[in-house]
Homo-oligomer: 230 residues x 2
DNA sequence: CGGTCCCTTGACATTCATCAACGTCGGTGG
DNA sequence: CCACCGACGTTGATGAATGTCAAGGGACCG
């Protein structure tokens, strides 16, 4: 099971930690749940998602072992968190207790800050993934992200979520996700061991454009940047 | 000029604050600048952007008065920040000094945490904007976001950034941004006072779909969610 | 054995990126 | 003053990428 940084180094935090087990699809907290806890995935995987006003769903984050989530300044979550594999273990800390402990313990306080900054950095990196132009680029970028975030088992990257989840995460249709996987396999960039395990064969083929030979965007961005930098 | 929460309430932080003025296009910090400072926009506006490996640019955030930015756990920024209007004023705090002060001052420490959480929340909300399906929805969602973030002057929302910046922010082409503005005007959702000032006439027309009459996505998301919730 | 869910592939329609042209504005220099 | 230029913004035409609809296969379960 994943190490829990806060608890491992801070006995004051470990004392208030509670563990919970969840099965696939089970809600960890809902959109209307008061944000009274902070969470950390210990094993398994979960998704953080929002329901849009028109009824559609959008996944804003996949939560893997070691990821903290659920912090919120107000008293309501805007997102819901749900486990996506059976046997997902999540640690839970009462928010008020943790904050009080942090007031008295600068090291814990620093650690909480670091956790928050890591979260900011992760969502901004995700913005880059979503900002990719073509579907193949998005999927490729997603696979690279997953390979960095998950522990490789026998050089295989595990993809615990369904194709539908990936589609909602990348804001493209399930069919396009499926087609992109097939196309990347065909091009020799990846090899699909089964539906939920994959091996990266050629890293460059994943990262680099691949789609869209036109280069106006490129030129534009560069020229503009040069201008601004000057 | 915008209030600076940290300085206003914490004299220890105010002492180390330095102000800087920037003109349009000027760099506040670069991708390779060591992350030795935290920043807060006091007046004007800026953009946070990343240069992709293929030379393209992506804007991950617009920084408006009151927004803090630049925090990073490692010692390097991944993004660059540049002013986008003349006379942009940015406050700068040395990172180490601020952290030391936070160790000795729980209230400051809490405030920094709140700032970090607000930043997390903002980028996740932005993920929802980017995750919209059609271009019109993206632009509409962007305008709603801007109207929430900027102080309305005579019921007008100010858009300090160029159409190119908006395009890079939403990951769509400049032409499509322009067309979406025109289309939203035509539909009576907004009124363009000039290139950089806009008034929202019909909030619902901006938020709700408008594009894409098909509802398979909707149905799918709802059915899946209901299943999961059950 | 039927049912459901997940995944994949094909065919078609639609959106949007691209290319192109033009208008505006502000600055610069004749 | 006017001509010129570059940056920015808008609109039209066209092709390519992708959403949508449809069909079918495989795994799991009652």
């Amino acid at each position: 099971m994943q190490a829990d940084l806060v608890s491992d180094s801070r006995p004051s935090a470990a004392a208030m930690r509670k563990l919970g087990a969840y099965r696939n699809g089970q809600e960890i907290y809902g959109e209307t749940t008061p944000a009274e806890h902070w969470y950390c995935v210990m094993a398994g995987a979960a998704r953080k998602c929002a329901l849009l006003s028109d009824g559609r769903r959008r996944i804003v984050d996949f939560l893997l072992p070691g990821d903290y989530f659920g912090f919120r300044t107000g008293n309501l979550h805007l997102f819901a968190a749900e486990a996506i594999v059976n046997g997902t273990i999540v640690a839970r800390y009462p928010r008020l207790g943790l904050e009080s402990a942090a007031d008295a313990d600068p090291r814990l306080s620093r650690q909480l800050r670091e956790i928050a900054f890591a979260s900011v950095w992760r969502s901004q990196a995700r913005l880059l993934t979503l900002g990719r132009v073509t579907a193949i680029e998005k999927v490729g970028s997603f696979l690279v992200e997953m390979s960095h975030r998950s522990e490789p088992v026998q050089q295989a990257v595990s993809l615990p979520m369904s194709r539908y989840d990936i589609a909602d995460y990348l804001a493209i249709s399930v069919e396009t996700v499926s087609r992109s996987f097939s196309e990347l396999s065909r091009r020799g960039a990846i090899r699909l061991l089964d539906k939920h395990r994959m091996r990266i064969l050629n890293h460059d083929l994943l990262e680099t454009g691949l789609g869209r030979v036109g280069n106006r965007t490129e030129w534009c961005a560069r020229s503009r940047t040069e201008r601004w930098r000057a």
